[in-house]
Subunit: 196 residues, 2 copies
């Protein structure tokens, strides 16, 4: 099936936006599970095949709504492959690499800023971090207390983002990756696999 054969006879970018607006609202209000390609299509008043045409899957539609800076499928697979005893360090390195790659513009800080001021974006971000980032991880490692562990990991990683990139605290803003990892990775590791 070629792209031209499938191209719908509509204004692509405005239809795409229309779908994304509907999806963003549903992921925020109903959560990930209850949102479907069909329910989004219905609200956007388009055919479900058009949603698939633009976004290919529910997961990719979700990522497009959040504008998360890396592909969780690819990056989390690498963290999981490295094994549980390395997961703390791998997660911290993944977050640092993603953030620092953007230089001054930090997409997670931007997202967090919006999430803190708009409740619906806050729900969207929470849902995304829980469903797409942390649940796959705690499930792959078959951890007990998955929700608590996920919340704790999120608290330290988001807090690191705020203090290093948002508020730029003296002690952390310019610290080299290895030193950040030495300090923060043991925390993440305990939240994942330690006694709580």
């Amino acid at each position: 099936m070629t792209r031209s054969g499938r191209r719908p006879k509509v204004d692509d970018s405005s239809t795409r936006d229309q779908i994304r607006v509907a999806a963003r609202q549903q992921f925020a209000e109903r959560g990930y599970q209850a949102t479907t390609i069909r329910s989004v299509a219905e609200q956007a008043a388009v055919d479900p095949s058009l949603v698939m045409h633009f976004f290919r899957s529910k997961d990719q539609l979700f990522e497009a709504c959040v504008e998360w800076p890396f592909d969780p499928e690819v990056e989390l697979a690498a963290v999981i492959d490295a094994g549980l005893p390395q997961a703390g360090e791998q997660l911290v390195r993944l977050f640092l690499a993603t953030w620092d790659a953007r230089g001054g513009h930090n997409p997670v800080v931007t997202l967090l800023r919006t999430a803190m001021s708009q409740e619906s974006v806050g729900r969207l971000l929470r849902e995304f971090i829980q469903v797409r980032l942390l649940t796959p991880l705690v499930e792959a490692f078959e951890l007990d207390q998955p929700e608590l562990r996920a919340g704790l990991v999120a608290s330290q990683l988001l807090g690191l983002g705020i203090v290093r990139y948002g508020l730029r605290f003296d002690g952390l803003a310019e610290l080299p990756h290895d030193a950040v990892v030495a300090s923060i990775a043991p925390t993440i590791q305990r939240y994942l696999s330690g006694e709580l």
Copy 2:
């Protein structure tokens, strides 16, 4: 000296606001050290004695600018009195008690939200947390690497605030204080007194 004997012949509340606007700007732009009662008075076009009349000290002026929900002098003294081995737990309990006392309205989340979207408020908040909350603590306990330790403590406490009260993650939003303390206090303790 009675209050009525000192009452200046001006509109109290608008003068107070005028001083606070000037102070907020200076604390954010110059930092705590370089801001003085005199420099604030000059910018607000009032006599320095009037600044003292309204705010009593530079520290209290600073707190009025940030609207921090507890008096650091009182609360940190209690944490310090309890001794370094208890400091992690004491700090987590202090933050939880402060936050939960306000019910739905969480002043630190409000502050953080503004700090993330307005750079000057961000600088003000960072300066306040560093100078008034964490520096007294690391100095009282004579800790090495004070800036790094302060930044790490801030990252976990602010991250906890965001995930528990701002984004309301499932695993943490409703968790009883004792369970939060059991999970988070060892992290804060390591950031204060452990190997980094």
